[in-house]
């Protein structure tokens, strides 16, 4: 059975005017369907990417997969557990949270500006009770910082003392701190410069190998997805219009929208080709 199964995920937003206004103006309800019966599955250790433009529903799906948002219909199963099933065991739900973590787009808003980064990274360890002994906790934080390419001395610094790329690394360290199995990456490098982006993407690749992580990658940038994902789902207006292994998608796009996206994407590949032949 696949590790992550999204089945007929649907999410409505009720944007209607209040009942009385509707009666007076004789207007119907206004329901926005952000996600419309989307189904996909991710195998353990895979990197699955959802690509789409604004309004495609990819961020909403990310929120539903992470458990932050309840679907209006459909379900999410992680390793056989229904994420939104009845809370039979509070502890099990808490542990479920531990297995899924997220890395966000904005390096500025994703870290609490008033907390030292040592504490930011320590927080999941404390919350999930992974390590009880204080000394061991500090060791673990140092270890995590090292894994993302920062140093132990950074523990007492504040987020504003770091650059955008370094802040994303801190976010990644925080995500790793809970020893997750799945990491949802929501446009993690969109706000970064090219050379910094390369560092962060390479880091994510290395970490995936080292810790056998499963990634759900959300992006609008096909070039970034090409680097990171082995399977791609194309979203348009809340619907999954095409899904394929990345090589196949790039070589033989089937849906009109996919073809349009591929041709519209600004691609340095018009001049630069990789040396390796497949």
């Amino acid at each position: 059975m696949s590790y992550v199964i999204a089945n007929q995920l649907t999410r409505h937003y009720d944007l209607s005017d209040p009942w009385i206004i509707r009666q007076i103006n004789r207007r119907p309800k206004n329901i926005l369907t952000a996600v419309n019966h989307v189904s996909f599955s991710i195998e353990k250790g895979e990197a699955y990417a959802l690509v789409g433009e604004s309004g495609s529903g990819k961020s909403t799906i990310a929120k539903m997969v992470s458990g932050l948002l309840k679907p209006s219909a459909g379900s999410i199963h992680i390793d056989g557990h229904d994420l939104n099933g009845p809370i039979l065991d509070g502890k099990a739900t808490h542990n479920m949270r531990q297995r899924i973590q997220m890395v966000f787009q904005s390096p500025y808003a994703s870290l609490n500006p008033r907390w030292k980064i040592g504490n930011i990274i320590l927080e999941p360890i404390k919350s999930f009770r992974l390590i009880a002994d204080e000394k061991q906790q500090h060791k673990r934080v140092a270890e995590l910082l090292d894994q993302v390419g920062l140093s132990e001395r950074d523990v007492s610094k504040y987020p504003h003392e770091f650059s955008g790329g370094q802040r994303q690394r801190i976010s990644i360290a925080r995500a790793l701190a809970s020893q997750p199995e799945i990491i949802i990456c929501d446009e993690p490098t969109s706000a970064l410069d090219v050379s910094v982006q390369a560092q962060v993407l390479n880091l994510l690749k290395d970490l995936q190998k080292e810790f056998s992580l499963t990634y759900l990658f959300i992006s609008h940038d096909l070039a970034v997805i090409s680097t990171m994902a082995n399977k791609i789902g194309v979203l348009k207006d809340g619907k999954l219009v095409e899904e394929a292994d990345s090589a196949e998608l790039f070589a033989n796009p089937k849906h009109e929208y996919t073809k349009m996206l591929l041709s519209a994407a600004p691609n340095i590949g018009v001049y630069v080709h990789s040396e390796r032949k497949s």
């Binding site: 433009e53 993407l201 680097t227 790039f250 519209a264 691609n267 001049y271 497949s278």
Partner: protein, 314 residues
């Protein structure tokens, strides 16, 4: 080669911070010709937006132009840009949401710009506005609509129409498509290419996206720490970069390619220095695999009109 439309000659833009004087743009020289699209590419803090602002005279204290000249159509403009700005040189910014006045119809904003620059009647201005909208791909019957009724991409087209209204010789576009969806981005870039070709307008396209550069520009200038690292025809610079920074940038840009999943992206170690930490000599040398003693001491000039690197000397 015809005379350049705009020439930037050894421009430096400086910032006074408590006790130091920092350079945001350092001794930059560039030429741009009519009808071409010149890309100005660099990472955040490289000085590309600052250069665009300097051309338009939009440098406010505590920043100031500390040396150099900007020459437009043969005349010096860096000391008095007011007449040129908005008429012969216009600008397009990144965010179409804030570039348009939400309280005024787009037709009114266009007409106002036209009347300011040309001695025509309101009716004539109106007709011109309609033809401008058509040129940028907007249905002219929407001339009386308000900005909020347009999508992001359409709004950016309106902004381009506004920039075209004074019939400028040069348009400076600062990250015009960064906030837009990919499909819309492609349309806007095609529009810019069409304008350069059909009207002969020169365009300086400021961006951090190498993909955009590849698809849109004729020539490209690569900036690093406020200095020019490399300049040349886009095809040449991207296929065969001479400056190590350009090589690194090109190699670290992701591309749509079946092989890219299996490879790691090339990464340039370190990060671009802050303004108050720019090293002596070539600013890139701490991150450069090929740096030698000369690179660490002396700033390289531009060799063969192409690359500011001691290794390009021959």
């Amino acid at each position: 080669m015809a005379n350049p439309l705009l020439e930037i000659d050894q421009l430096s833009v400086s910032l006074k911070k408590r006790k130091q004087t920092l350079k945001a743009v350092d001794n930059l020289s560039l030429k741009i010709y009519s009808g071409e699209i010149l890309g100005l590419v660099g990472e955040s803090g490289a000085g590309k937006s600052m250069t665009g602002s300097a051309i338009l005279g939009l440098i406010d204290p505590p920043l100031f132009i500390s040396s150099g000249k900007i020459i437009f159509e043969g005349e010096r403009i860096d000391q008095n840009t007011k007449n040129i700005r908005g008429s012969k040189i216009s600008m397009i910014f990144q965010d179409p949401l804030v570039s348009l006045n939400p309280l005024r119809r787009i037709g009114d904003q266009l007409v106002e710009t036209i009347i300011t620059h040309f001695d025509v009647s309101k009716t004539q201005a109106f007709e011109r506005a309609k033809s401008l909208l058509e040129e940028v791909g907007i249905d002219p019957s929407r001339i009386n609509a308000y900005p909020h009724t347009f999508s992001g991409g359409m709004r950016q087209r309106v902004v381009i129409a506004l920039a075209l209204a004074p019939e400028p010789a040069l348009i400076i576009a600062d990250e015009p498509t960064t906030a837009l969806d990919v499909s819309v981005q492609a349309q806007i870039l095609d529009l810019l290419k069409k304008l350069a070709k059909e009207r002969g307008t020169a365009i300086i396209l400021i961006t951090h996206d190498m993909g955009v550069i590849a698809e849109t520009t004729d020539r490209v200038a690569v900036l690093y720490s406020g200095r020019l690292a490399e300049i040349g025809k886009t095809a040449d610079v991207l296929k065969d970069p001479k400056h190590p920074y350009t090589k690194g940038l090109v190699a670290s840009t992701p591309r749509i390619d079946a092989n890219s999943l299996l490879e790691k992206l090339f990464q340039i170690p370190g990060a671009m220095p802050d303004l108050d930490n720019i090293p002596e000599g070539c600013p890139f040398h701490p991150r450069c695999d090929f740096a030698d003693a000369q690179c660490r001491k002396e700033q390289p000039p531009l060799f063969q009109n192409r690359s500011a690197c001691w290794l390009s000397k021959d």
